[in-house]
């Protein structure tokens, strides 16, 4: 009887035996030849999952070696010797291993591509997108945060609008207080090509980085959120049910909260009317939204459920 599972156990043993340099060699080979030497990996198509598995299942010292190796391998990349695809794959490995030590080199490779930041049809542009996406995996890194903030708020004329989603999320993940200006900027850039953004996944990630109560304040108050951004945020806050608990809390305690809560009593009505506009814009009503509408009607009649 052959234990197929043995393959992964063997791989874990190999992983534990590798030094930082050996990992660097292995990763470089993986990116050049689509095989991880010494490891039993059945297909290049699953290599990233296997690396992710190794990273999750190995002890911390092995994980540290993997990360150091990824950083060394990325540092060894040079455009004269390797293809751009090697750099792209390297960025995926840095991201999958969460190799934060590779961040300065990743930034260096990314900024080296700056002449192509607006050249949407060049291969360098697509690799730059992959690099900035990998950098977005490290939002709590000061260098990354500074770069993302600069690109979003100061240098957007020199980068393509397609960077906007990654930049916005990265900036907000690093500092949720930037939610309003970042969303304003994002909506401005998004309007140049809305089909280039997967709004649902992007907004779910953004909402994970911001407290729901702050989302509510941003859309209800004179927070500085632009009208476009207000509609967009409201629409996704409703669709992703981000504000359900916030409303439930404020409704349940509306009397005692009067005058003392930062959430004004009656703001649900304002929110609802804003949502109505959004709904009209979308031209369709989901089941959840319909429930909210009915709740609002009951609320107007004076009864909560």
């Amino acid at each position: 009887v052959v234990e197929i599972e043995g393959r992964r156990m063997r791989n874990l043993r190999v992983a534990a035996s590798l030094t930082d340099i050996a990992w660097a060699d292995a990763f470089l080979t993986a990116c050049r030849e689509q095989r991880l030497p010494g490891f039993d990996i059945p297909s290049e198509a699953v290599m990233l999952s296997e690396i992710d598995f190794l990273c999750r299942e190995t002890p911390e010292d092995t994980r540290a070696s993997m990360r150091a190796g990824a950083a060394i391998a990325l540092d060894r990349y040079n455009a004269r010797q390797y293809t751009l695809e090697v750099l792209r794959r390297m960025a995926s490995i840095v991201s999958a291993t969460l190799a934060s030590g590779a961040v300065p080199v990743l930034i260096r490779h990314f900024t080296a591509l700056h002449p192509y930041f607006k050249e949407e049809n060049s291969p360098q542009f697509n690799v730059a997108i992959e690099l900035i996406s990998a950098l977005g995996t490290f939002p709590n890194n000061t260098q990354v945060a500074r770069l993302l903030r600069t690109l979003l708020f100061e240098a957007t004329d020199s980068v393509h609008f397609r960077f906007a989603g990654i930049l916005t999320l990265g900036v907000i993940r690093n500092d949720s207080a930037t939610f309003v200006p970042a969303m304003n900027r994002f909506c401005q850039l998004r309007s140049l090509g809305p089909e280039r953004f997967h709004d649902r996944t992007l907004m779910r990630a953004i909402f994970k980085a911001v407290l729901p109560v702050n989302v509510r304040q941003a859309v209800e108050k004179k927070s500085g959120l632009s009208e476009d951004a207000k509609l967009y945020v409201t629409k996704w806050a409703m669709d992703l049910e981000v504000l359900r608990n916030v409303f439930a809390q404020s409704e349940g305690r509306s009397e005692e909260m009067k005058g003392s809560s930062p959430l004004e009593v009656g703001s649900y009505a304002a929110f609802r009317s804003m949502y109505k506009v959004t709904k009209a814009e979308r031209g369709r009503v989901s089941g959840f939204q319909e429930k909210y509408r009915q709740k609002a009607v009951r609320s107007r009649k004076g009864g909560h459920t």
Partner: protein
Amino acid sequence: VSHLQRWCNAMERSALLKLVLSNVALDVLTKRLDLKFSKLVFDAVTDSWDADVGNDADDMDGFAKRVFEKVLAQVDDDALCRGPEITLGDSDISRVSDHAGVWDFNLDKGAFPSPDGGLPDEQFWLDIEKAGLSSGQIRTGSMVRGARNFAWITLESTLDDIRSEYDDLRPATQVRNYLGLDHFEAGFMLLELHYPKKMLDGYRVAAPTFIEGGTKAVYQSVSVKGDDDHWGRTARLDKMGDGKPEAVHMAIPFTAEVKIRLLGVVQEAPPPLDPDEYLKTREHQWHSGDDERIVETIEKEP
């Protein structure tokens, strides 16, 4: 004794590789695969067979396996997807894929959030399942394919049947077992890529042969089942027999019309495999004399 026969004799030393030889024998001896393609492969095997190493290697079966893998990895695209042709008609087609591969090769990273834990999580794929994709969110030039320049597919109804049988919307482990995808071990997150109608129009869809199956113990070549059923059959991991339809096609562009559905995370390691028991379920079981018949058949081919 020719190099090809030596290769066969080396392969048959291993119970696992006898399964591979069984597929080769069926495909070659029944001419399930046009002989010119078989000849192409075995001429390359003969060329690659290093008599000095091959005859004296400590692990002759391992050496033979490596030779075969190397040859198949370099086989011309023209020899791929050449098994019995399948007419799809109105059938809905799906493919099972590892989520990291789709993330890495098929999606435009600018359209999606950077993952905060290395790779996207299940919620990410549920959101894509719900909202779908637009063409602007697909990576330029991305293809539907595996490690080699073709892709494995099954009928959508195969996956629906498994969902019904296990009353589970996301039966990743059972799908892995039914389709013989032993490389998806515990922890792999699997996706169903559901093809839009006509996506394969103009492409040859064929039952797989040993050229696509390679050295995988859990691939089996099968004869045509009937006039309207040229599909191959998967080799199940959890039970003998009762394989599901499978086919292959050349790499095709990945489009926004491909619907992604999360199949879930594989929960357990593949069941242990007994090659001798597996061999008993093969339509053609490798036996002595097959090597000579294969050599004779291949050598007759001009």
